[in-house]
Symmetry: C2
Subunit: 200 residues, 2 copies
């Protein structure tokens, strides 16, 4: 059995959302597992001295158009929320807390959160929204709230972000297959060929 | 007859080079003409306060790997030259001088220049290299040298860069079809669908 594919994303990234709807299915076709790894693009921006795409001149207006067109191209629906981009540390921390207990549940939480944000426009930066989404999947709301309030989970996410950047990860989505890095949902055709051929 | 597709690129951009090897063929399949429009990414970097990809932390090392992998994926050969990226104002000015006289010749010059740079590693930032490439296609070397030395052609390229940015162009390749902008060679599948369906 090959090592799992790593799938890095930020909960506030439309391209990361698109990949989240595709990567498991593509990987399964080649009998590969996917390890979902939310992290914070903010940590990358700090390192690169850059900013979220929508804030940039020229790239900003283009990107909004490209988000929506790319969603249509991929057969997905996506409405850029009014609050965009937003801080996603609560969602990412909740994910890792769940992942340590039940990886499949953590993934359902991630998908539910991404769909709530990009489908229904819910502001997932809010602690209550994250707790509600988890509770809706049967998670103990009070236990998660306590964990999100503690230092341990904060340190955990910080370590995940540092490890990602240390590994060369800098975007969302960012997929690593057997050491080969792929940045962007537009690399899906290359990812498919890589999985099919074992490299090219 | 529909309006031509605009294809913006910088002579020092690998992704621009890849698109140059594809766009005419794709457009022809849908009976569309392509207007090649070299410009200077440096003008965009100044506007955005950004830098060439290879100079950036994290993105730099990834991009070199992605250039070569994307070339293989597209069935092209590409060796990143020792001098990379380079200034391309001589090549871009020569292109417009030729385009005003013989558009087909200008395109042959552009392709020859891109292939000399990304195929053979010739330093196309050098005036002599540009003159040699043009002369190799039968162009009057002395007349082109005189034009490249004059202010008129400098003003022309400056105006082309300003008009591109004014229009929202910021990358290479950057393709505009009936007002719809596509950034990156990885948008080729979307470009194809757009041409086929007249939008989506």
């Amino acid at each position: 059995m090959s090592a799992p594919i790593d799938f890095y994303f930020d909960f506030s990234s439309p391209y990361g959302y698109f990949m989240s709807e595709k990567i498991d299915e593509v990987a399964a076709r080649y009998r590969r597992e996917v390890r979902w790894r939310p992290y914070l693009l903010g940590a990358v921006y700090k390192k690169l001295g850059s900013q979220p795409l929508p804030n940039l001149p020229l790239k900003g207006p283009y990107s909004v158009r490209d988000f929506e067109r790319s969603a249509r191209f991929l057969g997905l629906s996506c409405r850029i929320p009014e609050a965009f981009p937003v801080a996603t540390q609560h969602a990412a921390r909740a994910f890792y807390w769940l992942a340590d207990r039940d990886p499949a549940l953590a993934r359902r939480f991630a998908l539910a959160t991404l769909r709530a944000y990009f489908g229904d426009g819910r502001d997932i930066s809010q602690l209550d929204a994250v707790l509600d989404l988890a509770a809706g999947l049967g998670v103990d709301r009070a236990a998660l709230a306590a964990a999100l309030d503690g230092d341990e989970l904060k340190a955990r996410l910080r370590a995940e972000c540092e490890a990602a950047i240390e590994r060369g990860v800098f975007g969302s989505p960012f997929v690593i297959i057997d050491g080969e890095p792929f940045w962007g949902v537009d690399r899906l055709p290359q990812i498919e060929r890589w999985l099919e051929m074992g490299g090219f």
